[in-house]
Amino acid sequence: MTSTAERVPGSAQAEPGTRRGGTGRFRPAGSASRGGRGPGRTPGRRSLTSSRAPLVLLAPAAILLLALVVYPLVRLLVISFQDYGLRAIFTGQAGFAGFSNYTNVLTDASFWPVILRTALVTGAMVIGTIGIGMAVSQMLTRLGVVMRTVVSVVLVLAWAMPNVASSLVWQWLFQPFYGVLNWLITQLGVFGDHTQDNWASTPGQALTIVLSLVIWQAVPFVALTLYAAQSQIAPEYYEAGSLDGASAWSMYRAITLPALVPTLLLVTILSVIWDFNVFNQIWLLTKGGPEDTTLTLGIWTFVQSFVSNAYGQGAAIAVISTLILGALTSYYIRRLVRSGEEDL
C-alpha cells in the first residue's frame, strides 16, 4: 500500500520509460521525427500465438488482484456508505448510512482546512523539489568528472535512505537541547537562540521540518532524472548558441528548457502523486499536529479510521482523496496511455 506511493525506485509510475529503451539524442524544437518509431516497434509484433496460453498465464495474477485490489476497492466504496465503527467490527454487521459519512466529512470543521493544507503542502513540496532539482541538474552539467561523481553519490545516498530511518534522523537533528541543527541555527546568529526549540510541537516549525525532510529526499530523483535528460541534448546546439554570442541564461532558456519539458512534466506529475501521499514522514515527526498544522488528507484518513475507529468516515475521506488525486493525474494517465498506444 504505502510502498508504491513511496519514493523508491519501485514506484510503478517510474517505469513507463523502461520499455522504450534509448531513443537517441533529443532534438529540440522543430525536429520532425519523433524518436524511436523504427521497425522494432511495429504494432502487433507478437509471435506467441495461442488462444489459451494468455489466459493460463494471467490467471494467477488475476485471482490475486481481484481478491486483493479490486474487491477491497469495491468494499472501500461500500464501507464509505456504511455506519462502520467499532461495533461493526465486533458484530460483523454494519448498517447502511446513506450519504451521512460524506455529509459528515464535508461539513466537518476540519474538511476545508485539510483540503487547503494538503494542496499547499503538496504544492510547496513539489515546487521546492522541482526548483532545487533543476538547479542541481544544471550544476551537474557544469562539473568535472570527479565532482559530478561525488554529487551523484551524495544524491543516491539521500534517495536510498528508507524514509522511516530518515524521519528518525530528522527527529534527532531537531531535538530540543541536543539537536545539532538547533545548535547550528543558533550559531548563525541571525535567528536568535533556537537550542531549546521543540520543532515538532511548534506550529510553523513542524511544517518546516516535514517539508525539509520530504524535499531533501525527493530532490535526488528529480535532479538525476533531469540531468540524464539534459545530457542527451546535443552539444552542437550550445556551440551554435555560443557562436551567436548567447549568454548562458538565454541558452538555458532557449535550448535546455524546451528540451527538458517532457521530463519536467513527468517528474512534476510523479512528485504530485508522491507528495500528495506522504504519510510516514508526517506521522513519525508530528502525527499531524501541533494544532492540526500538518494534518493532511492522508493523515486524516488514517486518524479517522485507525485512531478513532470511524472506518466509514475514513473510507469516505479515502474515496474523496482518490478522486482528487485521480483528477490531478488524469492528464498523466491519458498521456501515458496515448504515448503507449502502439504497445498497448
Binding site: 525536429s31 506467441l48 534527532w172 513527468l266 488514517f302
Partner: protein, 309 residues
C-alpha cells in the same frame, strides 16, 4: 567533437532506437556532454561542495551518532567526530531489543511477498506483452490506474477483511497486503522489459519447433532476467521500507517488522539516540546496497520514456 555517441541526426532517426534494451546502462554519471565553454569552474565547484555538505549532513550525523559513546551523544555543543568510537550502540540495538526477531519477520514477509509477486507477475507480464487478446488494453489501463490510489485507501478494506478472516497480526496477512501493492507495479515494469526483447528471437525458436511455454521459459526468461532481477530489487525495497501497512496490521510486538520496531524505538527507550541511529544504520544498509545496484537502470529507463514523450 568527442561526443561519446553518434551525432544527433543519425541517432535520432536510427531504427535501433526503439528496440534498445533497458539493460543497456545509460550514461547517468559517466559520458557527459562536454561543455566547450570553459567558464570559471571555481564558483560552480564551491556551490557543489556546499550542496554536498548540506545534503550529506543528515547521513553523516546518523553515522557519527551511531559510533559515539552515550556521553558524547547528548552534549549541548555538538561533537563532530566520535572521540572514542565504539560499537556499543550497535551491540545494544542488536542484542537487547530482539532485533533479530524483527529482522526475521521482515525477511520472511518481504521475501515471500516479492517471490510471489515476481513469479505471478512474470507470467502475467508475458501474457500482456507477447499476446494479443481481447481486454488486454483494459487490463493494462486498470493496472496503471491502481498505482495512483492513495496509500491509505486500500488499507481500510484490507484491514477489515483481514480482521474478519483472522489474518491480522500474521505473516500471511502482511504478505498478501504487500502483494496487493507490489504485484501491479511488478507486472507493469516487467512488461516493459518483455516489450524490449525483439520478436525475431521468438520466431527463430518457433521455427525450430519450440512450443509456447518452452519459448517462454528457455528463450524469453533468460533474456528478461536482468529486468526480473531489477524489478525484484525495486519490489524488495518497497516492501522492506513499508511502515504504515505493518503498523496497522501487526499488534504483537513479537510480530513487528523492522520499520515498526524502529519507529517505536525512541518512545520505548526515551532518548537513546545512539542506539536509535545505530539501528537506523543497520536498517538502511541493505536498502542502500540494493539501491546502488539498480539506480542507474531506473534513471535510464525514466528518461528514455520521457524524452520520447
Amino acid at each position: 567533437m568527442t561526443a561519446p555517441t553518434v551525432t544527433p541526426t543519425t541517432s535520432a532517426s536510427a531504427p535501433t532506437a526503439g528496440s534498445g534494451s533497458p539493460a543497456v546502462p545509460a550514461p547517468t554519471v559517466a559520458a557527459p556532454v562536454r561543455r566547450r565553454r570553459r567558464r570559471p569552474r571555481v564558483l560552480v565547484n564551491v556551490i557543489a561542495v556546499a550542496f554536498c555538505l548540506v545534503w550529506v549532513f543528515p547521513i553523516y550525523w546518523m553515522v557519527n551518532t551511531a559510533f559515539k559513546p552515550s556521553d558524547e551523544v547528548t552534549t549541548l555543543t555538538p561533537i563532530w567526530f566520535p572521540l572514542r568510537p565504539t560499537l556499543e550502540n550497535f551491540t545494544r540495538a542488536l542484542t537487547q531489543d530482539g532485533f533479530l526477531v524483527y529482522l526475521r519477520n521482515s525477511a520472511i514477509v518481504v521475501v515471500s511477498a516479492v517471490l510471489l509477486s515476481i513469479v505471478v507477475g512474470f507470467l502475467a507480464s508475458a501474457a500482456l506483452s507477447r499476446f494479443r487478446f481481447r481486454g488486454r488494453r483494459a487490463i493494462l489501463v486498470a493496472i496503471l490506474f491502481v498505482q495512483m490510489i492513495p496509500s491509505g485507501a486500500l488499507l481500510i478494506p484490507l484491514f477489515l477483511s483481514f480482521q474478519t478472516l483472522g489474518l491480522l497480526n500474521s505473516y500471511i496477512g502482511l504478505i498478501l497486503a504487500y502483494v496487493a501493492s507490489v504485484l501491479p507495479f511488478s507486472i507493469w515494469v516487467m512488461r516493459g522489459f518483455f516489450v524490449a526483447v525483439p520478436v525475431e528471437i521468438e520466431e527463430a525458436a518457433k521455427v525450430d519447433g519450440a512450443g509456447t511455454f518452452r519459448i517462454l521459459w528457455s528463450v524469453l526468461f533468460p533474456l528478461v532476467m536482468p529486468g526480473v532481477i531489477a524489478t525484484s530489487v525495486f519490489a524488495f525495497i518497497a516492501a522492506w521500507n513499508d511502515y504504515l501497512t505493518a503498523y496497522v496490521m501487526l499488534k504483537d510486538q513479537g510480530m513487528y517488522t523492522l520499520p515498526v520496531w524502529l519507529a517505536g524505538f525512541s518512545t520505548n527507550k526515551g532518548t537513546d539516540f545512539g542506539g536509535l541511529m545505530a539501528a537506523s544504520v543497520l536498517f538502511s544498509i541493505p536498502v542502500v546496497v540494493f539501491f546502488l545496484i539498480v539506480q542507474r537502470r531506473l534513471v535510464s529507463g525514466m528518461t528514455a520514456g520521457a524524452v520520447k514523450g
